[in-house]
């Protein structure tokens, strides 16, 4: 899986991710290129990645790209001592920010909240003079044990995923970023291997489209989940 960028310094094992560097400003926007490449940052947080079948599948099929960075928070900050300066530089070097995490107690694992609280500083990300993230794009990629049907007003969990993600949505808005619908892998306990690899392929497809800037925001916003947008897109593109 040595094909996308990672902010980790070693690749001694498959649980962590291979070495890489932050893409430089202007990289991938070659003169004469017929598209404007978007740089995508995956902020990944899973406290037990090694035990997560679903997330291992998603991460291991990330597409090869110079403009995709995987940033593994638990591996980098096992003591929760997040290096704010590094994180800010990382954000500045990317256009699209993905909060990729399992859905724990209807929210993200603790380190993700720590990251939000520490990195999105007043005066930098929001508030007076806080324009550094302006016009970037953000959305969540989440895995849930419950199925999509369980997350409905008449379902087991009584609220929709989108409702539970309100804090993220408003945080993105606060930081003047565009917030897209989530990409979800749900009902993870019952997923067959075939279903799982289809989800992983969808995620890879999504990242490719994002990187190639081959998407329309307005189009995406019409769907409750990016999964549905992918399906529609694939249908129109044909097999």
């Amino acid at each position: 899986m040595n094909h996308f960028r990672s902010t980790l310094a070693n690749d001694e094992n498959d649980m962590s991710t291979p070495a890489g560097i932050i893409p430089q400003e202007g990289e991938g926007t070659r003169e004469g290129a017929h598209f404007h490449a978007k740089r995508v940052l995956i902020l990944f947080a899973h406290p037990r990645f090694e035990k997560s079948r679903v997330n291992r599948a998603l991460i291991s099929t990330l597409p090869a790209s110079d403009t995709l960075t995987l940033h593994d928070l638990y591996e980098l900050y096992p003591d929760y001592n997040i290096d704010v300066e590094t994180e800010k530089q990382l954000l500045l070097a990317h256009d699209i920010l993905i909060w990729h995490h399992p859905f724990y107690m209807y929210s993200a694992p603790a380190i993700m909240k720590q990251w939000l609280d520490l990195v999105l500083e007043y005066g930098w990300a929001h508030g007076a003079g806080g324009d550094f993230l302006k016009d970037k794009t953000a959305f969540n990629v989440i895995t849930t044990g419950g199925t999509r049907e369980a997350y409905r007003s008449d379902g087991f969990n009584r609220f929709t995923i989108r409702e539970f993600l309100c804090p993220f949505e408003q945080t993105a808005r606060l930081c003047k970023m565009t917030y897209l619908p989530p990409f979800t892998v749900q009902g993870t306990y019952r997923l067959t291997d075939g279903e799982l690899s289809r989800h992983a392929a969808d995620y890879a497809f999504l990242l490719q489209q994002l990187g190639a800037d081959a998407y329309s925001r307005e189009e995406m916003e019409q769907f409750a989940f990016l999964n549905d947008w992918i399906e529609a897109k694939k249908r129109t593109q044909g097999p």
Binding site: S16, Y74, E75, L76, G145
Partner: protein, 623 residues
Amino acid sequence: MTEGFLFQALIYLTAAIVCVPIAKRLGMGSVLGYLLAGIAIGPYALGFIGREGQDIMHFAEFGVVMMLFLIGLELEPSHFWRLRHRILGMGSAQIIVTSLALCAGMMLMNFNWKTALASSLALAMSSTAIVLQSMKEKGLGDTEAGKSSFSVLLFQDIAVIPILALLPLLAVSTGHGMGAPSKAILEGLPGWLQTAAVLGAGGAVVLAGRFVIVPFLRVVAKTHLRELLTAAALLIVIATAFLMQLVGLSPALGAFLAGVVLANSEFRHELESDIEPFKGLFLGLFFIAVGASINFKLLVDSPMQIISLVFAVIAIKTIVLLGTGKLFKITVDQNLIFAVGLSQVGEFAFVLFGFMHQLHILPDHLTDIMMAVTAFSMTITPLLLFINERFILLRFGTLEESGKEADIIDVQHPVIIAGFGDFGSTIGRFLRANGIAATILDNDSDRVDLLRKMGFKVFYGDAARTDILKSAGADEARVLITAVAAPSTNCDLVEKIQKHYPHLTIMVRVKDREDAYEILDMGVRDVYRESLDTSIRLGVDVLVKLGYRRYSATRAGQNFLKYDEAALLELAPHRHDEKSYIYNAREQITLQEQLLANDREVNPTINDHAWESDLRKDQEGDR
């Protein structure tokens, strides 16, 4: 006088066990304790032992032999190489200048030049036994003074060979006859043959060390009988000493040589721990014998002569040593420790004077006087060190910056750190980085100087002394951290503080589990094993290198730390269930066994299933 081995042993041991703890309690060190014990049981006080003290002394000189063997063992070539300038430079400067000064003085007093030269060479020697022992007890081994003392002493010990070789030449020219029967088979042989024999013996020791002793030790080790290895260690020392005596050399030197040769063998630590207790006992015996053999009659008959001689010798030696130290740029207070420490006449002087007497270089009367001077100077050394430390150095250490100190004292320093080595200084730096001022106590004056320059509030001195604690502001402080490396010092300190400053929170650095128990037993709860966190951190990194996720490994480390601390407290009371006489090493093993058994029962990470989704698979079906 009641004779018999048992009675003698009873007297010596009782004297030692009564006097040494008293001397230690008074802060005077064990050497003075032994000497006082000797004086007490000697012919001029209680009279338990008479002139046979002299014979005991010859026997007990064996302690010196063992000590040099151990010094040799501890002397790694690299260490020697680092100190080479000091050993050669300071050592030769001290011996040559001291001998010349003393020789000139004695010739002015109308001594014959040969007698004067021979005696002054002997008087230039300092006592390795006393100085190293005292330095070790005061924890000064790694200071400038300690290293310089060691270097000079080492040079002196080596210089004994040529001096012993030189003495017969002085005697030949006075035309001595074969008076006293001597054990040395070489006596009477021409000088070149003696020299050849000396070199041959030295070579034999080196070769034997390389090619005989180590293979021999391997065979012995295979038997797995501990006492056999002890016997072998003793055999090595005794055999070397015997060989050396045979050719008329100092047994101590032979042993030193054997030690150096064996320093690189795999048996080094084994030999060290086997010989150590014997050395301690024999040295103690040696000092007792020195105390007992002091001829107080001579002192009563001509007190002025002896006293003035003793002080003249000490004064000359001190001045020369101070000069040497200055030449080698030792700071003033370190130089004082160094010079005063080495100002006495050493145990080799007994050997040399004995030899001179045999060779008729020294007449009977003079030999007695010289022996008395040597013994007295050794006796007052611990006293001089004591005075130096308590009155002169203290003034020196704090006077330097007294102007500054007065205003710093007004500042409230909530933390006192005793011991500012690597451990303590890290704490100090951390606290300072967080705006907490700490008062530091340390007994390495060089370090004290440096720290003062860096703006730390530092007090020079032994933290276990209440007057120093008081001046460091123990009354106002809230926390006292003992970061001293030596466990015994920590215990001492904790005891003092609990008694005099009960309001202070004591936080203790301890070496290992055993030490931790000792401190826990004293009622201190804040105990920090110095390598625990580091070894767990390393273990965490091992897990990561083996492919664990860093966060899981970190949690495993945190859990283990918590569990291990809890196990420490839990096992602490059980420690006393064991019969108290259990050999220390055995106790360690038992403890490790208990720990391992516990580890099997409660694996702190095996039950950590946080965030594992597999487990919930079965229950989630209905969603």
